[in-house]
Amino acid sequence: MCRSAKFWCAVLVVAVTAAPSWLRAAQVKLDVSMAQPTLLAEKKQTTFVKVGLTGFKMSSKGKRTPVNVALVLDKSGSMSGTKIAKAKEAAVWAVRRLNREDIVSVVVYDSTVRVLVPATRLNDKDAVCRKISDITAGGSTALFAGVSKGAAELRKFIDRNRVNRVILLSDGLANVGPQTPSALGELGASLIKEGISVSTMGLGLDYNEDLMAQLARRSDGNHIFIEKAEDLAKIFNFEFDDVLSVVAQEVSITINVARDVRPVRVLGMDAEITGQRVIVKLNQLCSEQEKYVMLEVEVPATRESQTREIAKVDVSYANMDTKTTDRISSSISVNFTKSEEVVRARTDLKVMAESVLQVANLQNKLATALRDKGDIEGARRLLERNYVYLKDGAAKYRSEMLRVRALDNQNQADRLDGRDWAATRKEMRRYQHLDARQQSY
């Protein structure tokens, strides 16, 4: 009798302690860490703080956040032929992945904008797919207007409990209306304040990658370079994977850096740094995926025995599962040692590798700028140095990611000339974007 009672008591205890973790609603995991948790004493130095956020899994299987998506398709003259055919196929395919809970609108543009399918609940998929199939190409490229009308369609059903996204496909240079990267970037920055992200897909070798990348970067959307129209369906698939796995939106990260520590810069993302306060906004987090903010700080010389608080981090976000606004906080400190050995031993390899990735990303951007000015040699040298830097990092911090990226940089260094440059540049932008934001594809 006693043994069975003990057994059941144990079961009960386990159940009681374990149960809450099942029943407890999922939350975003906040993980603040230092690249070097222990720093060298008596030395003013810069180091990295990583604020990592990981999306949770939705509580019930098969449940996902409903979607409010606007497809903005370029149908200018340059798209005619295979490109528009494949684009239509991919769009139709993507629409078929959505369901009645989702809202879809389709906007096409050439010299002017046409709202092909106004924002509507997806009750009749076939009707939407038919309209998409009827698109024919011809005209110039009013990209800004296309994105604007797409966002306007989104606004009809905009909801913080939906994923609100514009997906833009273009193969060309915007030549009607605002057409500079900064103008499109500004538009992106204003859209993210409403919770709208724009993912930009550049098709072929003739589009303006700066414009597309800026628009995506500042609205926290994805950016991808698609060389062949045949890959469109696959890419649309990835994008929709991304869209359909959003678990948190309107992510606001506030880092209050301690008084004596100086925030230098945030690598790879837009941040508002005012005095000791750093504010970063992300538009969404996907299920089981991590995004991070890499903050470079300058730490004053500190005595060995001291522990220094580096920063307090407050995060708020809209939880798509519970439909509430969650807040989480954390803080981070460092301690000091006179021993370099100890510093090395305590280095967080993963965070260090990620910081290397971000620094190399900045260098890669610099290389693009040099090549733009016509300094092929300078760009090549920079990329070669980047390769070495990444390779060393890959070895030191045991990172496959850095090794791959090192090879990418070396590859790019070889393809800076003439005809290769158009494709290389688009590729560079695509990876710069991917690494800075931890894009999922």
């Binding site: 002017t112 207007a145 304040k193």
Partner: protein, 531 residues
């Protein structure tokens, strides 16, 4: 003659047509102008609708921004939160009562974006433009405007700043993010609609462009694609604060020019119908005229033909009459008296017939312009005497005495037939109309080149007002006068012949009866030479 008629008919057709064409063309052109003007007005109305949308948008923004600038505190964190949260706001700033910048504090901690904004807007702050703009110019003790829009140009172009003067006389300003402003306008304005069939005669497709202060298109809609350098049909500036921007309305120029062309087609078909009608009428009249001319010609030809035919038997009659006369001279005068009398009648009648035929032929020839003289040398008096002799039996029968005062015995150049015909017609008239007078006096006079013959009778005479009319063909004063035989062409022919002979035949006044004066140009053989 036919050519003159044809020209007349052509004029009858063409002149009214030409007048109507000119008037109608002016009318059609006016109508086309009106239709095009109407279309321009429609286009203008459409642009005004667009402008109204933009004006309504700015009114809404003003209200929103007024609410936004009802700031409780000017705490920098609160202000920065506003910027962070509102998609349309680029920057917020606050000026104190003296117009100095309080937020963002130039001496304090600034984000990169704030630093950049202060750089662009530096001049505006230094010159205290907003503080001054808030005052209505021209008034001394003016109450400064409470709020308004301020336009500045930097970067890609126009930037809008909304400012508001608070009760405390501080100024709160909101800089609207430029890309977002354009985005908002695009969201307000229409997209290109699916094509609709053209209504109320309007051109089928159009394009409306929103153009910035530099002339570049910021946004456009409509399915028509204008040429590179096309000019808009209508354009107008936008309302404030975007009054440096314009709306332009484009249509297909060719389609526009073709509008209202139906008026010209209507005109053309009306003219064509009228022209056809006139041509039909003209052709009808021409054919009628031609027919009558043909018939008249046929009649004349017939008469000529008949006359020619008559001449031959007539000649035979005269010949055999004269033979018979010679035969009779061989017979005893007493026995031959009655036969001679009969013969005289035959001869007189055949002479008359001859004369008649001669008149007709002469008349016909004269109408055809084929009359001509055949001159020989003769004495005028001889001819007159011969003619009198021929008429003597007939005149005697009518009881008319003939007295001839001959004084023209020079040998001259003379068309004998013509003179005979003239005299014959005149004497025959006397025989027909003046027999009651019983007397005919003939005088002949001659000077150098002219011969004058006067015939005076004692008949009823010819009234003055008929003196010229008797010389008109086919004119006979009255059928009452006995012996209403006669063709009415005798006198006209006589006059024609006299005139042809260089002279004239006139009717002069006389106490007794009718007095005809013949004048002929009879130059002597020596002075003329051979003609």
């Amino acid at each position: 003659m036919a050519i003159r008629q044809i020209i007349l008919l052509v004029l009858i057709v063409c002149l009214p047509l030409a007048t109507l064409a000119w008037l109608g063309w002016r009318l059609a052109r006016d109508e086309q102008g009106m239709v095009q003007q109407r279309l321009r007005e429609i286009a203008r109305e459409r642009l005004e609708d667009v402008e109204e949308k933009v004006a309504a948008y700015f009114r809404r923004r003003e209200n929103e921004l007024l609410r936004l600038t009802e700031l409780e505190s000017h705490d920098p964190d609160d202000l920065r939160r506003i910027v962070r949260q509102r998609p349309d706001v680029g920057h917020v700033f606050v000026l104190d009562r003296e117009g100095r910048l309080v937020h963002p504090d130039p001496a304090g901690m600034l984000s990169d974006s704030e630093r950049e904004f202060l750089l662009h807007a530096k001049q505006m702050f230094d010159d205290k433009e907003l503080a001054r703009a808030a005052v209505v110019s021209g008034d001394d003790d003016a109450v400064p405007a409470r709020y308004g829009w301020h336009v500045r140009y930097w970067g890609p172009g126009l930037n809008l700043i909304f400012y508001r003067r608070l009760e405390s006389r501080e100024v709160v300003g909101v800089h609207l993010q430029r890309a977002r402003l354009i985005h908002d306008l695009i969201a307000e304005l229409p997209a290109t609609a699916p094509p609709v069939p053209s209504q109320d005669g309007f051109v089928s497709e159009a394009r409306i462009c929103l153009v910035n202060s530099r002339g570049k298109t910021e946004y456009q809609w409509g399915s028509f694609e204008p040429e590179e350098q096309a000019k808009p049909l209508v354009e107008m500036p936008l309302c404030e604060p975007l009054d440096s921007w314009r709306l332009k309305y484009f249509v297909d120029d060719q389609e526009f020019a073709a509008v209202g062309r139906s008026a010209y087609w209507n005109l053309l078909s009306a003219l064509a119908a009228l022209g056809l009608g006139l041509v039909v009428v003209a052709v009808y009249f021409y054919r009628e005229y031609a027919r009558e001319v043909r018939e008249a010609t046929q009649r004349v030809n017939f008469v000529n033909q008949v006359s020619h035919e008559l001449k031959t038997p007539l000649t035979n009659i005269r010949m055999y009459a004269e033979l018979l006369e010679s035969d009779l001279e061989l017979i005893e005068p007493d026995d031959a008296a009655r036969s001679r009398g009969h013969l005289d009648v035959i001869v007189a009648e055949s002479q008359r017939l001859s004369r008649l035929i001669g008149n007709v032929l002469t008349f016909a020839r004269q109408r055809r312009g084929q009359l001509s003289l055949h001159k020989t040398t003769r004495r005028v008096d001889d001819v007159i005497t011969a003619v009198i002799e021929r008429f003597r039996p007939a005149l005697r029968q009518k009881g008319i005495e003939v007295a001839f005062d001959a004084a023209a015995d020079a040998v001259v150049r003379l068309d004998v037939d013509a003179l005979e015909q003239i005299l014959g017609n005149l004497i025959s008239n006397v025989e027909k109309y003046a027999a009651a007078g019983g007397h005919l006096e003939i005088t002949s006079r001659q000077n150098d080149a002219q011969t004058t013959i006067v015939l005076t009778d004692r008949g009823p005479g010819i009234p003055t007002n008929f003196r010229e009319r008797v010389f008109q063909p086919f004119y006979r004063i009255s059928d009452r006068i006995e012996g209403a035989m006669g063709t009415g062409i005798g006198l006209p022919i006589a006059r024609q012949l006299a005139r042809l002979h260089g002279g004239d035949l006139v009717l002069t006044s006389s106490d007794t009866g009718a007095r005809f004066q013949i004048q002929l140009n009879t130059a002597t053989p020596e002075s003329e030479g051979d003609r």
